[in-house]
């Protein structure tokens, strides 16, 4: 793939061992990518992994080789560092990508369930990184609880319900046109939890849906469980921050812009929050007036 003599200007190892790429190098690069495919593995816990990360950073030709291997496998390299390891994300059509149908059979067929599962992931991220700075700050660790995420979204829905009440809108959806129902209503009317025969979470309840999202993210190496309080308490990993910041956030943002919902900024670098957030600050506090 890469057979040009790359003149590595960096000092150290690469200077001592000039460029021709050997099968052993390719094996090492692939090994690094394979480490990256085990998202729960951290360089700090594995000396070989740490050594390969160090080589990636010190040896540009090796780095290009590893990047090429990853690209060939259908992976996007987000970051290679000792804190996140080789953080890779699956490209759209990659064999590593997760499809909605694999995630939840109901979500594949039911449009409301598809929305709820997606919203659960968005809400987990929003609560894990509540401020823009949190998402940008590499050292930030977010903390979420399953019940907290559900309560947060419910509160947001309730606020919208109150706004609709105040303006006197009839938000009851038109029968036989489920696609036109306001999104918050779908969440608000789904039960938060429910008793089941075997004392497990009710899978279709919103807490069940958030719980599924969170445990899936744990398996992706994005969250770590810290305790069982409030339906499960979790903290974020560096990889999750990268994934949300560089992949998911921008993808969802692009979709939203395509719908024409967020005003396109005038070219300044910072995306400003929409005007809606203003009345959120002033009267969204304690809803005593709701009675």
């Amino acid at each position: 793939m890469i057979d040009d003599d790359y003149d590595a200007p960096s000092p150290g190892e690469s200077a001592a061992r000039p460029a021709p790429i050997t099968p052993a190098d390719v094996a090492d690069a692939s090994r690094l990518v394979s480490f990256g495919l085990q998202p729960k593995l951290l360089p700090a816990r594995d000396t070989e992994y740490a050594e390969l990360i160090r080589r990636y950073r010190d040896d540009p030709s090796f780095a290009r080789l590893a990047d090429a291997v990853a690209t060939g496998l259908g992976l996007i390299v987000l970051e290679v560092s000792s804190r996140a390891g080789m953080a890779v994300a699956a490209a759209e059509d990659s064999v590593f990508a997760v499809r909605m149908g694999d995630y939840s059979r109901r979500a594949a067929s039911e449009s409301t369930d598809r929305f709820l599962h997606g919203l659960a992931h968005l809400a987990v991220a929003a609560l894990a990184f509540p401020r823009p700075e949190d998402l940008a700050d590499d050292g930030y660790l977010g903390r979420i609880t399953v019940n907290g995420v559900d309560a947060f979204v419910r509160q947001a829905c309730r606020r919208l319900e109150q706004q609709a009440d105040v303006s006197g809108d009839n938000t009851d959806p038109v029968s036989d046109a489920p696609g036109l129902e306001a999104a918050w209503r779908v969440y608000a009317r789904r039960s938060a939890t429910g008793a089941t025969k075997d004392a497990r979470r009710l899978a279709g309840s919103t807490i069940g849906i958030v719980g599924k999202a969170v445990s899936f993210l744990v398996d992706s190496g994005f969250l770590q469980k810290t305790s069982d309080d409030s339906g499960g308490t979790y903290r974020t990993t560096a990889r999750y921050q990268l994934q949300v910041r560089d992949m998911a956030g921008s993808a969802a943002m692009a979709e939203l812009l395509a719908l024409g919902v967020v005003p396109v900024s005038d070219g300044s670098a910072t995306l400003l929050p929409p005007d809606d957030s203003d009345d959120l600050v002033t009267d969204a506090g304690l809803p005593f007036h709701s009675v």
């Binding site: 995630y103 598809r114 929003a126 401020r131 907290g148 947001a156 807490i207 929050p273 809803p287």
Partner: protein, 498 residues
Amino acid sequence: MTTTAEAARPAPGPAADEGLARRLRALACTAPLHDLDSRKANLAGEYAVYGMAEVALAAIDLVTLHMDFDTGADRDQVLARMLPRVAAQAPEREWREHERVAKWVLESLINVGSVDRGFRAVYGTFASDGSYIRRDYDFKLIEEVPGPDGGVYLRTTDEAVNVLVGALDTDVTSAQIAAEVKLEVLIRRGRLADAQLAAEQARYRTVQYSELLRRALEATRRNVRAVDWMETVPDLIAEALEHIADRYRHENAILTNIRKARDESEDPEHKRRAAELVDIVKDCIRRHTQLQTRLLEAGPLFRAEQDRQAFAAPSTRSGLDLYGQLLAPVLPLPLEQASAVTTAFFRKGIGLRTPDAVRLTDLVDVLLTPPVEREHLGAELPEPDLISTPDDSRFSDEQLETALGLLDLPADAPRRLSGLLAEARRIDPDLPYLVALLSVHAASPGVGTAYRQGEERLLFAVDDGTRLDDQEFGGADLIVGSALLDAVGMAADRTEGN
């Protein structure tokens, strides 16, 4: 909001139609109760004798009354309390059937079969352009909420409370004051039956009030920025605290009054009613106290959150505001559009999975390997290697027994410490130390503990100013004695205190 969203939002109908829609919705809330009585014919068995709507209303009552500030009502408890009413409707049937009926009613009120665990009614309105539109009205009567222990609890929804007592949809504060004034008057006139009704109504309002506050504080906890902590919230907290102080004074006054009525009344029926009232008002006071604790916690919570959110060093890069720029704009969108955004986030944000790759030869091996037989008894436990620790206590058990025997004084004959020490010295030269130690401890006896454990006697020691003249010890020559405690009276007090 954009034109697409506006077009998707249903246009409000003419004003006259709105009132009709509101009444149709109110009517719909009662439908599940009527439905119970018509559906009971479909149940396997002869259930016509049960008044299902009555049981259902009783269940809503029970859940509302037992809703706590933090959690809802316990499902098993509610079921257990429903049983007497069900049993009274058909006393000749067996209890298993009663239990089944109670469970069926409760599950029907939750609507366990449906995905949303709620109800839906369809009604029609005229749009502004004169076209007729059918709309879905979704509501719940009893909802299941998570408790702090991970369990599932029941809460009644606002709709259910409105079904239960139509007049409840009023200003909470004024309604509560009215109920309490009424209660006071009734008690003064000695009309306890009416007073009990009023007290129960007051409790409904207390519950509703704390439910409002609970939601409010929850919102504060989650998002500091969303709340105005300069004026609005401190004002609100101060107001709420004032309200509680006011109610607390009021209810304590009522409590004193009813207690008097309870103790002075000759009529056993009056006495019983008054005793029930005492319980209800006590419960109100307990709920107010709970509310107050929450209010006091709000300040420190805000400061901690502010520390975390506002005083961290500002980052040089600015990131995406996930809530303000994504979540908040998505929720009001119509489902179809919102789903496009969330699905995009889902696809890119979920991470990757390595697909399983299986070789046929491995598969054959795996499938043909006989399952490993599991040892029935498990692995043998290694014999623990125990080392006996040397007994380094200063006094032996016998010495303690002798000392306690010396101090087991009759209630009417306390003794001086000096005498006890001398006697102890005659038995064992080490014993005086133990006796002195126990006596000094008795100078501050654990009265509270003894009271709680219902003990009958308690060792005490008093200093009357006499100096102790002893070869080994100095200090006061304590008077050591036993006090008899009224165990029966204490037990009675304890049950009343609860």
